[in-house]
Amino acid sequence: MRQRRPAHPGSARRRRHAGLALALAVVILGACGCGGSDKSGPAAATETGAPGGMTVTITARTVPKVGTVLVTSQDLVLYVFAPDHHRAITCKGTCLGTWPPLMLPSGSKLAAGAGVKRGLLGSDRDPSGGRVVTYAGWPLYTYTGDVDPGQATGQNLNLNGGLWYVIRPSGLPLIPRS
């Protein structure tokens, strides 16, 4: 699974940061195993038969307080951003620091894990570069506040210009009744 940290639009020197951010985005997933976790070993982004290809897998998991929702291969809960209107990525700048989009590296494939509808998986061009995984048209993000797998601390959070929701395998965000 690939997440991206904020990219810098514009000049060449900013591309240096974009690549660094891209590297760091995943490093924060891959640092030393400090603290407890029920997951061990490397991330579940697996090699496909295609030379140099990877697979980005989205699965469904039951998470406390929110029920069955989409997660990454590392069981990190995925969110959608209401202002995206399941059409386009609007989280940019510092928003990306807190809500890294789930990236689809060039040459990679998408896979639907158990409970996930393959027909709803897709990708969108990210204005900051690369492609972001989408589901039912919604760009998908993780939340830096979820420091352990199976957490959904970003659910219904109003931050960076809008509301954030977990998303069901049906493709519907979990929007609380007002």
Partner: protein
């Protein structure tokens, strides 16, 4: 925990970082742009001043005095918009990952991330409660004061640790050229997200709340000390 696993993907990402390393020389640094860690520390100054506003409001509630919904809302909104919606995004996007990559302060970073998340929950609670109805409801002011107290108690040590340990460590691991570049980028991001004179505008907003609360005058906090001077 988030910080476990991912070695395969990290390697792939690191390989992809190579393409982005520009060989073009960076533009001459703008002397008006401050280093990223200094920038983050002055943003902490905004946070500190809001914490002081919260402390004053807590004292008033504990003294049985009314809580002003507008002052509370304005203060919490600064936290929401500027600290949580901007400052923390810089830390989470640019500071913490680099430290973790360097094998530094991973456990501290995790704690800081959790505290950011908890703080956002408290801010949402304060914003929701900072209404005329909310501060007039039975028990409302006490609940809001308790939330502010929890927020203060967490963020005072949080920012102190960042200022004294996290940011110095970040400065140590980042090459000078990248520090300069990042400082400029932080300034550009702030300009994009808040417009011109952004920092001064936020400071003015805090000052206005302080004036409403009667805590703007710095001199009032100067104590008498004659009682602490030993007798000759």
């Amino acid at each position: 925990m988030l910080l476990s696993g991912g070695g395969l993907v990290a390697g792939a990402a690191a390989a992809s970082a190579g393409w982005a390393l520009s060989t073009q020389p960076a533009a001459p640094p703008d002397p008006a742009v401050i280093p990223p860690d200094d920038d983050l520390m002055r943003e902490h100054g905004v946070l500190k001043r809001v914490l002081l506003c919260y402390r004053e409001m807590i004292s008033r509630v504990q003294a049985g005095e009314p809580l002003d919904a507008q002052d509370l809302h304005d203060a919490a909104l600064i936290i929401h918009d500027y600290i949580e919606g901007f400052h923390e995004g810089l830390e989470e996007g640019y500071v913490f990952p680099r430290l973790v990559q360097a094998g530094r302060l991973a456990s501290t970073v995790t704690t800081l991330l959790v505290q950011h998340a908890r703080g956002r929950v408290i801010t949402q609670f304060l914003l929701a409660g900072a209404t005329a109805k909310g501060v007039a409801s039975p028990g409302g002011p006490a609940r809001l004061a308790a939330a502010m107290q929890a927020f203060d108690r967490m963020y005072e040590p949080h920012e102190a640790r960042e200022d004294t340990v996290v940011f110095p460590a970040f400065r140590q691991i980042l090459p000078a050229a990248e520090l300069t570049d990042l400082g400029q980028y932080f300034a550009e991001l702030q300009h994009q997200e808040f417009g011109t004179n952004e920092f001064a505008a936020v400071v003015a907003r805090v000052a206005s709340i302080e004036q409403n609360l009667g805590i703007y005058d710095l001199a009032q906090f100067t104590p008498q000390v004659s009682q602490y001077i030993p007798s000759p």
